[in-house]
């Protein structure tokens, strides 16, 4: 039987700071779990650049806070697990969707792969071949181009992840702490071999808007839906302000481990 394509919401929110970005993801998760908004895909950037750490990481163990201050780099704890990420020249996506949706595999690890499939199709649209690398990476030419993290709360899935547009490994390691300073130079060399970016792959700069257009295509194709551009609702804006104030910009939240 002929079935109309489902319509999901698309949000494009450039240039928010780290606290607001994490607050928006949490706000959309809550409003979707209360059935107030459809499944939502968001593409965003970080201004100023920021480090996000995984929910279970220790801020001071992972991040050199004084170097962050010197560079004007923010830092924030995510509600998702996973590792520390330096968000600079990248496109970040998030998807929020009910756990029960027929497009979402029940097994968590399978749902990582499924959602990464949308990013892989988006990269393909840009002209980059890539594949899923368990647990939570996407690699191109054997090198990492995207990292992803998922949480499930109130029967709702939130997965967010990066698409590296350009990467500065030296700057990244000046901001992140490494277990052994003596091997830092070798580590930087290793990571340079293991990380790539859209710019690296295509040998040219790609504008955020173009990358977002390709990612939109990737999500629409993977999930067989139309993404309709819209804005945060008033309720979500209210929640965003609240979460930003009460969690993500506070010392209690960011230093809790």
């Amino acid at each position: 039987m002929f079935k109309l394509k489902e319509k999901w919401r698309l949000l494009i929110t450039e240039n928010n700071n780290a606290f607001r970005n994490m607050a928006i993801d949490k706000a959309v998760l809550k409003s979707n779990s209360e059935k107030k908004v459809p499944p939502t895909v968001r593409f965003y950037t970080w201004t100023p650049p920021a480090i996000s750490i995984g929910y279970f990481q220790s801020l001071e163990e992972e991040v050199d806070l004084s170097v962050c201050r010197d560079f004007g780099v923010d830092y924030v704890r995510r509600i998702t697990g996973g590792g520390a990420v330096f968000h600079d020249k990248e496109l970040t996506y998030s998807i929020v969707i009910p756990e029960s949706h027929n497009q979402i595999p029940k097994k968590i690890i399978d749902s990582y792969e499924r959602i990464c499939g949308a990013v892989i199709k988006g990269l393909k649209h840009l002209g980059i071949d890539s594949k899923y690398a368990p647990i939570n990476d996407i690699i191109s030419n054997g090198k990492k181009i995207s990292g992803n993290a998922q949480t499930r709360k109130e029967k709702t899935v939130l997965q967010h992840g990066t698409v590296l547009m350009d990467v500065d490994v030296e700057k990244m390691f000046s901001l992140l702490k490494v277990p052994n300073e003596k091997i830092k130079d070798k580590l930087i060399k290793d990571v340079k071999q293991r990380v790539t970016s859209v710019k690296d792959s295509l040998k040219k700069d790609i504008a955020f808007s173009k990358a977002a257009e390709s990612m939109k295509h990737g999500f629409e194709k993977e999930f067989n839906v139309d993404l309709i551009k819209d804005n945060l609702t008033d309720y979500e804006l209210e929640l965003t302000d609240k979460f930003e104030r009460q969690f993500f910009s506070t010392k209690e939240w960011n230093h809790k481990r």
């Binding site: 995984g54 929910y55 279970f56 990481q57 220790s58 163990e61 509600i79 998702t80 697990g81 996973g82 590792g83 520390a84 968590i108 690890i109 647990i135 939570n136 993290a149 998922q150 949480t151 499930r152 709360k153 277990p179 481990r257």
Partner: protein
């Protein structure tokens, strides 16, 4: 006494344990389980940290306790296992 360990779980993520323990009684006083793993729900880790207080630092006892909490509560880990967590805790004693 206080101690730390860093342990790469085979096939998983990097686990960092901070442990406060009673040397004479061989008991956990306080534990923080940190790292770049995933836990569903995330509260699982705080629950395990709480339940591990006053647990004897012995491999079989630790493993069985962690394993039974995970099973009872239906917790799911990615990049972390009960075996790995046990090993990470015991490495704080070396």
């Amino acid at each position: 006494m206080q101690s730390k360990s860093i342990y790469k779980i085979p096939g998983g993520k990097l686990l960092k344990i901070y442990l406060e323990f009673d040397e004479n009684k061989n008991l956990i006083k306080n534990i923080s389980i940190m790292g770049d793993f995933f836990a569903y729900p995330e509260e699982a880790i705080e629950i395990i940290e709480k339940e591990l207080k006053n647990t004897i630092l012995e491999k079989k006892i630790l493993f069985e306790k962690i394993f039974s909490i995970i099973n009872k509560e239906n917790f799911e880990f990615i990049g972390l296992t009960a075996e790995g967590l046990t090993e990470g805790i015991l490495r704080c004693l070396n």
